[in-house]
Symmetry: D3
């Protein structure tokens, strides 16, 4: 079975893939004919595909997020690879393939990621900081098992959000050892809460964001999380304007650092400064790692990466450097 | 009695003024001597002043926000006018002067302004929008009687915040008549709520902001107001993620329009777009009016106005145009 | 007859439409065949269309700005709706259709708009301000009956420019009542003059801008209007450097507020500040109104609006809020 | 006689200087005493000075722009040199000093500069371009004999404006030889006209700008020059919207290149592009030359130069490079 | 033979052209067919072309940078001209055509350009400045005979880099005469060195850049040139931190002026300031000249020019102005 | 002995301090008197001071960087604390005080920091990367024992540069464990080299930068380090354009990330991305730590921190959160 990341122009292949996107379109011919505009995916990446001879039955048979067996040929179209599908059928039980094998996932099991997050939560000694944070984790817990951290930028895969949080917690613990003036309770809570409302901001399935929710568009995950904290305080009988509540909201609100990056206030506590830079470091490193992983090993350069000022990354880990 | 706005270099004067600011400092002489670094104010403006021969009794006698009788001379110092105080004493009952005569105020009585705001509130027909807004007005009502709308930029005087709200409500009602597709309940609520949390963001007395509160610095009035709305929803048993709550928070969060002006989201409802532009129009016009009012009528140009890209305004309403 | 705004993918329809744009192109086939690349319009909006089997006669028959009867089918092409034309013929007298029914227009009759503008002009009491303004209105009057206010941004339809002026005059009159320090003559003249040279900057027919004129590209409507005022002064024997002339030119030159928005000077009179903000408020509200009007009522979101930082607008006036 | 540029801390000196600025101020002592806050100038530069013991007669005697004989001492105050004046008297006829020896001037006689400009004007072969340009030169001619090109930035001295024009004309002629596709009439006219309205924008005496005029503030020299061209066309019976008039106005309007530098349109003719870059080259080179000239030869670095991003210039022409 | 610059829609033609680019692609038909996606070039410009009926032999026959004889027809495709190739064959000896006639070249022979550069180099009197510069010229000399100065922006043709240097040297010599305080050795060396490392930054053949080199991407021509100078100093036994070496590197590093344009330091010597502005003037004038040259004489406007803020240029040299 | 950080207005004190800066100035009195404008320092911070009655002997006795015994009084001057010195004498041997006790230092001994850096250097397994890096460390080693990392921004104290490097190496090692795709040799070398040329860019003594060197101003530490690497390669007989040399230079050149922050290229290797973010994280955290350390424990807010967008930091580690 050919991994998408390894496909080259002119390759012919047969294999199982996920129908990540599917739309019925019409050709310009007279009379116009239906065809499928498709995005195929597997754990290594995704690729555009066309299926030209669509029957009425086909239109009833194929839908996004289904597993399919495809016979196809890889072509170069407008300087990008594209699959021309010769044959396609839905996968069935005898095929012995499972949906989760065909989606990109965090390299650690979701259950272990959520466990790590809850362990960090459990180690928060201040009662109020703990309870406010726990309220929000409870609300998001089920989605943390599978939500991505973003639509495309970074950690854009199954359980990517929890993975981002877990990695940042490791960095946060290291930093608290290196710089004892940091308040570990605050920093852990900030890391756990900073992106948690992405679970309300976006609609996602199988690690793939389909679109932003109404609340996501009108309020944004930063202000949604601030609102969760207020709600937690009211419901837990903590004064919503007490310093701890304000300091937690401050970390969430300021974690994008500059107003033009979406933060209404600049970081003004040591932990807020730390949170922003840990977040930036982890997100950027993951963008690099994801791009290198989904580029064939024989390619010295990744494609341009939007979150890195649209720059490609050059491999230095090969034999040449 | 010489109004501050009418003082010229070399003038000598006697009159009552408000001690807006007062600090004890030391001269460079040996031994150093105490002197007062003062800001005098009246209803027409404010001016720096020095009182050089301070006795120990004086230091026990004079404090900010007291009314005083001053004999002084106006001097030019570093291209600005400054008062050299020859004599100073506290005002007493026989003087028949009242604090509120010496502070700059909105041109309409606070009680009438708050009445206008509550009337607009009362005209909101949607029950939930009304109740959420009323919750916030209740919380701020006492401060609305005297809070300024800003530290220096615009409406920076007694009841300036309520005055800004009342004027904007007039503009909002005109606009709803001109453009019937606007939702008047939403727009009124947005106008009332958009700056209401300035009462928590800043510490003010007699219409003068002394400093920003901790919450003001770490969260800012925009996010504080969003938090009030969440709290109101929880306490009023309204779902804090219902569309109405989200739409109200959206107006507050987006009313500065661009992220670099402090809004985490851009306006995305008709009322949010209207709110931003009504706010801008009213604030800028007030800056112009305030600057013209506090410039002597004989001066063709006001001083530079920070909120207008530091430009001075030229009078066109005189005889010359 | 199906309004363009109500067309959905797969719809078949027959009706009259305006040929807003028409170009003859060739297919890739051997030998290449001619086809028409068309934009159809009606009073509710516009849509791309293709007509594939073009005969030599057709090429002599169809031209832009003609009314046609079309039988077509709506298709989805690159995520946008597009019409495939099956049959097309020119409208004739028996069809009883009139060009003006098929173009988007201001909601008020042009003659009434120009009447309102001339009434405002007539109410200017200062003789020189009146005469300078009247000179410019005379020059533009015929075009004010039909010119749009912009190519695409806002008021981009028949008599849109006069409509923008009339609405702004209403706002200006309200503002002069609210803030008596404003000079009504100046503000009215500024509103009338600020965009009047768009009639020289752009070439337009039936409310549709075809392109910018040479003068429009090299000078721009702001400087053209300033030049008209100079010319008016010279021809009316008014000193072109007198304060009134300068103050009128100042309003026109500064009405885009910031240099990066095209104004060589910042507003420095009360009326110039007011003019900019009235203009912004009216233009933005119209963008919202136009977008809502041309979006099917069942769609909660309009398309992205370029003049609103490319944000879509969410309807709050429906049943859901 | 000590040149100002050569003064060092602790120097004592006697000599003639120009009183460029003079203000009467008061000390903090009781009773306050008058003193003069002065800027002394000569052909090599300028320096702050104080005269502490001012008599009533002195206040009647000394005014800005007078020549004075000064005995003084140079001191370091807040890291800048400053003169403490011990004695001062007005220059008289016996002193044999002349005002023009004490102001900074272009290194070429004004009459020769204006001659060069008129020669370039005379060489314009197109009748209309010539006449429009000549109209503007006539209007400015008397001021061209002495006006500076700017308040402080560059060519800020006697006849600096004419000097800037003359130098640019040399560069323009060289460029027309190097690139024959350029229209020499257009480029010469553009160079002559681009800054000519600085004579209306600023009030200047003896090469020193005292302030911007009302027209200068509200319109700016770019739009004033465009207005002159319109006026010239009307008075010369040339169509003010003919291509030549528009192309001349275009060069003037676009010569600052970007909107944020004050140009309402970008350069869109070959000559407009050339004009901007010749202007930039000449202005920047003059800033460097002026800074090097007014820095003592022993100093390797000039002071920071505002027009060069506030960078100081290092001498490379000495022995060390 | 039809020059590319003179082709119009519907033209049929036969002639020789250069295959600047050629890629084999597949159509959407079943089975897919091969076709060539081609860019044809001649000395007047370039144009896209398609050859639809590609045989297996064709794929072995045609490669980029070959001369071919083409019979074709010009079509309009997406508002751009495109050639449909009917017949194509390789040029052979009997055709009597030469590759260099079909590429765009500097208007002066490369050997004369390099001669002019070496003459300027030879006139540098300072021994060390001369030797450091000569070291770099030696390294680049062979490529100077044909390298372009940029991929697309300006001087993007055969020997364009040497042409840019030669023209700038002329301007530099003129400026040194006009402003004697400039150090001619420094300025000549700066002009020669400023872009010389483009020969290492880019891979080019026949005046056409195919791509940036690894070093070009990771270091950029500015820092590569600085590195060459360091290497030259070490190899020539000149202290790499001596003032002359530093001043030369400074000119190269600062010649893009602002950090956002790629310069890590701002110009801080007179020659560095001059170098930047001479470079800007020459590059912009060349963009204008190239655009006018490759636009048919009947077109009043060139296409938009990216390096001129995407503005088109209007011809003023025709009969109309 | 009163630590500077603990001084309050009106305190009187006697103690030993470092004369960080000292300048002789003159008063305005007649005749003018000399006084000292001083900056006193100790390990906790620094403060302005004046000594008014300076004798000729004093001027021969006191110089910057001397230890002195001071009797003084703390005053408030323009809202800042300032010391008025009553008595001052130089410290002598009997006083038993040592210079190094009075300067701010990294919290770890310089010798241990340099040891840690050399250990990291020793662990680089690639021979060429090791040797190139070692060449640069050798050149800087003596200065690494005491140089600060910056003039004021961060790590601005004795051995601050080595401290910054050592801390970053710890973070780098943690990150290499967390993300095994990183090349540890490259990252270690990048961390060691990125700021190493600050030892040539700045002149510093006792951890205090007096000014930038000529090379520092004209080239900057980023390009100086790139030049060192070229020189190292030439002297070590490594091809200066080999991939390893280029990759090392790339990390140094790109470590400020964006052009507007001084980097001529953007990070384009995984290690370059990591280097920038580790640098940012460490620098910002140190700014916070330094500000908290030099603020009295009783103050909830630090002063504004320039490197953190001029924001003050609020203590969350006290009892209140």
């Amino acid at each position: 079975m050919t991994l998408i990341k390894d496909m080259n122009a002119q390759d012919q292949f047969v294999g199982f893939y996920l129908l990540r996107e599917l739309e019925v379109r019409q050709t310009n011919s007279t009379p116009p004919k239906d065809y499928f505009d498709i995005v195929l995916g597997d754990s290594s990446g995704q690729i555009s595909a066309k299926f030209w001879d669509v029957s009425p039955t086909d239109k009833e048979t194929f839908f996004p997020m289904a597993l399919v067996k495809v016979k196809g040929i890889v072509q170069l179209y407008r300087e990008k690879l594209q699959v021309k599908i010769m044959q396609i059928r839905k996968a069935n039980d005898e095929d012995g393939v499972s949906l989760t094998d065909f989606i990109r996932s965090a390299p650690i099991r979701p259950i272990d990621l959520v466990h790590a997050i809850k362990q960090a939560l459990g180690s928060i000694t201040d009662r109020e900081i703990h309870d406010l944070t726990a309220f929000c984790v409870d609300r998001a817990e089920e989605k943390l098992m599978h939500y991505p951290a973003a639509k495309t930028h970074h950690h854009a895969y199954y359980a990517g959000l929890a993975y981002h949080m877990a990695r940042m917690l490791e960095l946060g613990e290291f930093l608290c050892r290196q710089r004892p003036f940091l308040n570990p309770d605050m920093l852990k809570a900030g890391i756990i809460l900073h992106d948690i409302a992405k679970t309300e901001e976006m609609d996602a399935r199988l690690g793939i964001v389909s679109e932003y929710s109404l609340t996501g568009k009108l309020i944004g995950h930063i202000s949604i999380a601030a609102s969760w904290i207020t709600e937690a305080a009211v419901r837990l009988n903590i004064d919503p304007r007490s310093e701890k509540v304000v300091a937690l909201q401050h970390m969430v609100l300021s974690h994008h650092n500059l107003p033009e990056w979406g933060s209404p206030v600049l970081p003004q506590t040591a932990e807020a400064v730390a949170l922003h830079h840990i977040d930036a470091l982890d997100a950027k490193m993951q963008m690099v790692e994801d791009a290198l992983d989904s580029t064939p090993d024989t390619e010295p350069w990744t494609p341009p990466i939007r979150g890195l000022e649209n720059k490609a990354i050059y491999r230095t880990n090969g034999t040449n450097v």
